[in-house]
Every structure is written in C-alpha cells, then in structure tokens.
C-alpha cells in the first residue's frame, strides 16, 4: 500500500521550536538534572524530557522515514524503548545523542520492515521568515536552499539517506551510526561520501553535472 504524500512544514524560525536541543558540547545543567531524575526512575522527569525533545526526535524520524505517519510511529517506539532503558543511560554521551541513536535504530528497523517505499515530499508555501532583521532576499534564498536540500535528501535511497542525516544533520559519530545501522564504520563512511556526492551534484552542481539531475 502506498500512502499519499505528506506536506513537509518547515519551521524556519528556531524560536518557534522552544523544545529543541542545544547542539553545543556543554550540557545544560537543568537538562542534566532532569536526565538524572529520569534515570533514577522519576516518571515525571521522563515526561518532561519527552516534552522538551519530541520535536527534534520527530524531525529526525521524519527525515529518516520520509513520511509523517511513519515518523510518528517511529518516535513513539523510540520513546518507549528509551523509557525502558533509561536506567541504563550512563551519561557518557549527551541525552540527545543517546535518543537520536534510539530513533535511528527504530527508523532503520521500521524502514527495513516496510521495504523501500518511496514517498514524495511537498513543501508548504507558508514558510515563516527565519531572521526578520536579516536581508529578506538572503533569507528567502536560504529557505529555498534548505527546501531543495530536504527534497534531495528524500530522493536518496534510504541507506544513503540514513547515514547523511545522522552524520551531517544530527552530528552523530561514525561509530554510533555504524552500530545503529548494523554496518561497519568503513561501510558507513562509503555511504556517507556517496550521499554527499549525490547531494552536492544535485544542489551545488558544477558545469556539466546538472545534466544528470532528474
């Protein structure tokens, strides 16, 4: 069964996504305290982590599955798995990285169960301005570029898409990606380079390369 394509709504103003993780390497003390309480078995603390992180987790799942409904299923599975194993979270990785790995693993299982179903992603017109204080022309250009790139990512085969999303969008280490996808580190790197090459040729083509673009 094929599902109808879903419209991808992109939030272009980060302030509209209040629960998003910070991507700096320094852990937020409030977040650390919350994680510690969740690890100690406090359900309310885990619920709060869900509130703070589910938007980012959904974004990752959406980019890995290419489908809103599938992403919702993947995220629910991922949080259930995270909840069941939070007592084993040692804190040597950031919570976001740990959660991303679980989402990646659930998406990989989901995708392989589902086969290679391709979905088309349509972009909405009502995209919100990213930085109103910035040059509007540049902002429009940046938004268009992100949309083109998101569409190109969705056109990649799932095995290439997973690796580039996890490495270059969500910054997971090669080793973690290889672990979660059940492949070797060198295979993960080969897929990453192949994916980068295809995206670069499609989104930033050199003379002659765009002849191959579909």
């Amino acid at each position: 069964m094929t599902r109808a394509p879903h419209r991808l709504h992109i939030v272009t103003d980060p302030s509209r996504n209040p629960g998003r993780f910070e991507r700096s390497n320094t852990a937020d003390p409030a977040m650390t305290a919350l994680v510690e309480r969740a690890v100690a078995g406090e359900r309310e603390a885990f619920d709060e982590l869900v509130r703070l992180t589910h938007r980012d987790a959904f974004g990752l799942a959406f980019r890995l599955t290419g489908n809103e409904e599938d992403a919702s299923d993947v995220v629910q599975d991922a949080y259930l798995r995270a909840y069941r194993s939070i007592s084993r979270f040692r804190g040597d990785a950031r919570f976001s990285t740990w959660l991303y790995r679980i989402v990646a693993n659930c998406a990989s299982t989901f995708n392989s169960r589902k086969g290679r179903q391709r979905t088309e992603v349509l972009f909405d017109d009502d995209v919100v301005e990213a930085h109103p204080d910035r040059d509007p022309e540049q902002a429009v250009e940046a938004t268009a570029l992100r949309q083109a790139l998101d569409a190109a990512i969705h056109d990649l085969p799932p095995r290439l898409r997973s690796v580039i999303v996890l490495r270059d969008v969500y910054d997971l280490p090669h080793e973690a990606i290889a672990d979660e996808l059940g492949i070797s580190v060198s295979a993960a790197k080969v897929r990453l380079h192949r994916a980068r090459r295809r995206l670069r040729e499609q989104v930033f083509p050199l003379p002659g390369e765009n002849l191959h673009a579909v």
Partner: protein
C-alpha cells in the same frame, strides 16, 4: 573557466573531496592537486556549502502534530500500566482558548440583550 567534463586527475581525488569534514583533512598530494585545480576548488567549496546547509536543517525542524506528545505519553502510560487518558499541553491550550472564546461570545450576547431597549 571550468571545463564541463571531469579530467582524470580530478576523478582520482573526487572521493577524497567528498570525505573532507571536521575529522578528515586532505592528504598533501590531494591538497596539492586541489591548489592547482579550479574545478576541484569549486567542488570543495560546494561540499563546504553542502555541509553548512545540512547542519542548518537540524535547527529548522518540521512542525509536529500537537497530538504527538500526548500519544507518546499515552504509550508510556500503557507500558506503566496506568490509565492512558492524557491531553497534551498544546492540545489543552487550544481547547482552553476555544472555551475562553466561546465564553466571551456568550457574555457579549447576554450584554447586548440587556442593553437592547424593550419593545
């Protein structure tokens, strides 16, 4: 001007150019080729721009259904053996706003009825 077909020397380093990131830098031999080759310089710039744009995608996530949070928490409730009857914060806020708006409309209608002259 860049040529339209990729020369063999550029083909030989193409995989290295795609591999460059924070963890991988070009070997001296490949670096020397890139320094003398406009086409490969343009390719490196393309990869740099690609990686920058890819990183920015995570800061511009997709819009999430307001029901998702409640659905996740309900799954956890079931796992915990709790009754799964939750209203997510966003959905609760929406319901609250609608109820408040309805209240205002009812009050305004009553007020108008009181002010309207008899007959």
């Amino acid at each position: 001007m860049l040529s339209e077909s990729r020369p063999a020397a550029c083909d030989a380093v193409a995989d290295d150019l795609a591999a460059v990131d924070e963890q991988y830098v070009l070997s001296p031999a490949v670096g020397a080729h890139v320094e003398s080759c406009l086409r490969c310089q343009a390719e490196v710039a393309g990869y740099r721009r690609l990686r920058r744009t890819l990183r920015s995608l995570a800061d511009h996530p997709v819009i999430v259904s307001p029901q998702l949070e409640g659905e996740i928490l309900a799954r956890l409730d079931v796992a915990d053996g709790r009754p799964a009857a939750r209203v997510p914060v966003a959905a609760a806020a929406t319901i609250g706003s609608i109820a408040a708006a309805a209240g205002v409309i009812v009050l305004a209608a009553r007020h108008r009825r009181v002010l309207r002259p008899a007959g």
